[in-house]
């Protein structure tokens, strides 16, 4: 589904991502772990065609993110961190706008479906600026999956959400993954998130990928560590 080869990005002298080799299988939930400034957002920005890599290449669903950017954009759904959407528009209006930009044929029907799936029909005609953070995040997800993308990119989706909101979001993502077979790629620095949701993880530090494998394999590889947290700190510590 997604593969990168020696993907790299520099900002001036600062190397944000360094020769990244990643593979994400179709139907998996990939957790991209790393602390703040590790290069997670830069990676996701390159994969979602927002910025251009300076080296290597990446392809999604067989399309190169640089050369076939428009085709890639049709395949992906994306929810950046801290999106507030258009506060003066209602949920439906926001969704219609993004749906049309993605070229969704019957926008209103898809919106109806999505809102039902997310159990949001009740508030759909209120202005987005009146929503709570959790509600806004749900509309954020809705805009990202409206056009039925093959792969969904989420950047710190649970940041700022309360435990209730976090759980709801997790349920939605699982539902999507199981019912529609959507591949999910999510950035996070919360380990607990990863253990509860992901099938595969990658750990990135200072732009370098330290480890990428399925959770099962990792647990096999590190038998003496009791939790993912310990594994994470061990790898982090060893490389430092």
């Amino acid at each position: 589904m997604l593969r990168t080869e020696n993907l790299g990005k520099k900002y001036g002298d600062f190397t944000a991502v360094d020769n990244l080799n990643l593979e994400v299988k179709e139907g998996s939930i990939f957790g991209f772990l790393g602390h703040n400034g590790a290069g997670k957002t830069t990676t996701i920005s390159m994969l979602t065609t927002l910025i251009l890599p300076i080296s290597g290449n990446a392809n999604i669903g067989g399309y190169d993110v640089v050369k076939d950017n428009l085709k890639v954009r049709n395949l992906i759904g994306y929810l950046p961190e801290n999106v507030t959407l258009y506060g003066d528009l209602t949920a439906v209006e926001n969704l219609r706008f993004f749906g049309k930009l993605s070229g969704v044929k019957d926008v209103d029907a898809s919106i109806e479906n999505i809102l039902k799936l997310l159990e949001f029909t009740e508030w759909k005609n209120r202005k987005v600026k009146t929503y709570s953070k959790g509600m806004r995040q749900r509309i954020g997800i809705a805009q990202a999956i409206l056009h039925n993308p093959k792969i969904l990119f989420l950047d710190e989706p649970t940041s700022g959400l309360d435990p209730q909101g976090t759980k709801e979001l997790r349920d939605i993502l699982l539902l999507l993954n199981q019912e529609r077979g959507t591949t999910i790629f999510m950035n996070t620095h919360l380990l607990s998130e990863v253990t509860k949701l992901c099938t595969d993880i990658g750990i990135i530090s200072k732009g370098r990928l330290l480890l990428a494998d399925s959770i099962k394999n990792i647990e096999k590889e590190f038998p003496e560590e009791k939790s993912l947290e310990e594994i994470y700190f061990k790898i982090e510590g060893a490389k430092r």
């Binding site: 065609t49 428009l70 950046p80 999106v83 507030t84 528009l89 706008f97 993004f98 930009l101 993605s102």
Partner: protein, 308 residues
């Protein structure tokens, strides 16, 4: 193309949902209506006065009566020129100052860029959207003004007047779009929308007031000199210095065109539209060029990665 239209429509929708923007629009429309009302009343009073004078002369048995005052219908609407050049520009700035920086802060710019649209289409979409809002606004003012004009002054504008009026609104549109494009460019370049806004306000102040003011002070200076010597030599109202200063002000150029088109200057009131436009071709180009330049710069700047 579809994407552009979607973007444009969204611009229109959000603009008309913004309360502050609505206040400004309301102000704009209200002012132009008031000004037309006053203009029409003045014309009425003028006609009334003429009738009174005629009556007086006839009762005195005068045979040669003065000809009726040359009333150019459009000059009733002449106050619009100053309103458009002033508030119109501010409306365009209000419309554009968050066009990119606002979306960047919302995170929605990333959302749009991750959809199958090209970056230049985003700029085009926003330009189109802004153009639609400004067009609608000018349309409302045009209709309001025409209606009020007919209602209050009781005159019906002829084909010539309507064509002049339409071309004035077209130039007003270009003028406002210039400001919109410049604001959009600033909005692309800066993250801080308040900074961008204030920057544009300063630019607006400079070209709309400071430069014409400088030109004006040069002009009155030349005039004062002559008045002192009590020699009324025929000074051309434009001294070289004032002409030079005005060159840098699209606002002054716009007002010059507006005055010609709306029959405020008797000499150009009856000449054909083509002639007026030909006479002011330099001014029109001067209004057009800065807008186009910043638009091209916007396309270029939007391609950069930092834009998001």
């Amino acid at each position: 193309m579809n994407g552009i239209m979607t973007l444009a429509r969204k611009e229109v929708k959000t603009a008309f949902r913004d309360n502050i923007f609505l206040i400004i629009i309301g102000l704009f429309v209200l002012l132009s209506v008031i000004s037309v009302y006053i203009g029409s009343s003045t014309k009425n009073a003028e006609l009334q006065a003429y009738q009174d004078i005629l009556h007086l002369l006839k009762s005195q048995g005068a045979t040669s009566l003065p000809s009726p005052p040359a009333i150019y219908p459009l000059s009733v609407l002449s106050n619009i020129v100053s309103y458009v050049s002033m508030i119109g520009a501010v409306v365009a700035i209000f419309l554009g100052f968050e066009s990119f920086s606002g979306e960047r802060n919302n995170g929605t710019l990333k959302l749009i860029a991750a959809r199958p649209v090209y970056r230049d289409q985003i700029v085009t979409g926003k330009l189109l959207g802004g153009g639609m809002v400004i067009g609608v606004l000018l349309g409302i003012i045009l209709i309001f003004n025409l209606a009020l004009f007919v209602l209050v002054s009781g005159m019906t504008p002829g084909i010539n007047e309507i064509i002049r009026l339409l071309s004035f609104f077209l130039i007003a549109f270009i003028y406002m779009m210039g400001f919109y494009a410049a604001t959009m460019y600033v909005s692309i370049k800066t993250n801080d929308s308040a900074f961008g806004f204030m920057l544009m306000m300063i630019i607006w102040l400079t070209i709309s007031f400071v430069l014409p003011q400088l030109a004006e002070s040069q002009r009155t200076f030349a005039y004062a000199l002559n008045a002192t010597a009590q020699t009324v030599t025929q000074v051309s109202s434009d001294t070289v210095a004032s002409k030079m200063t005005e060159l840098f002000s699209p606002a002054a150029q716009f007002q010059n065109i507006g005055k010609d088109l709306l029959q405020m200057i008797p000499e150009t009131s009856n000449i054909g539209l083509g002639e007026v436009l030909l006479k002011q071709i330099g001014a029109i180009i001067e209004i057009l060029i800065p807008g186009l330049a910043v638009l091209l710069l916007s396309y270029k700047a939007a391609q950069k990665e930092e834009v998001l």
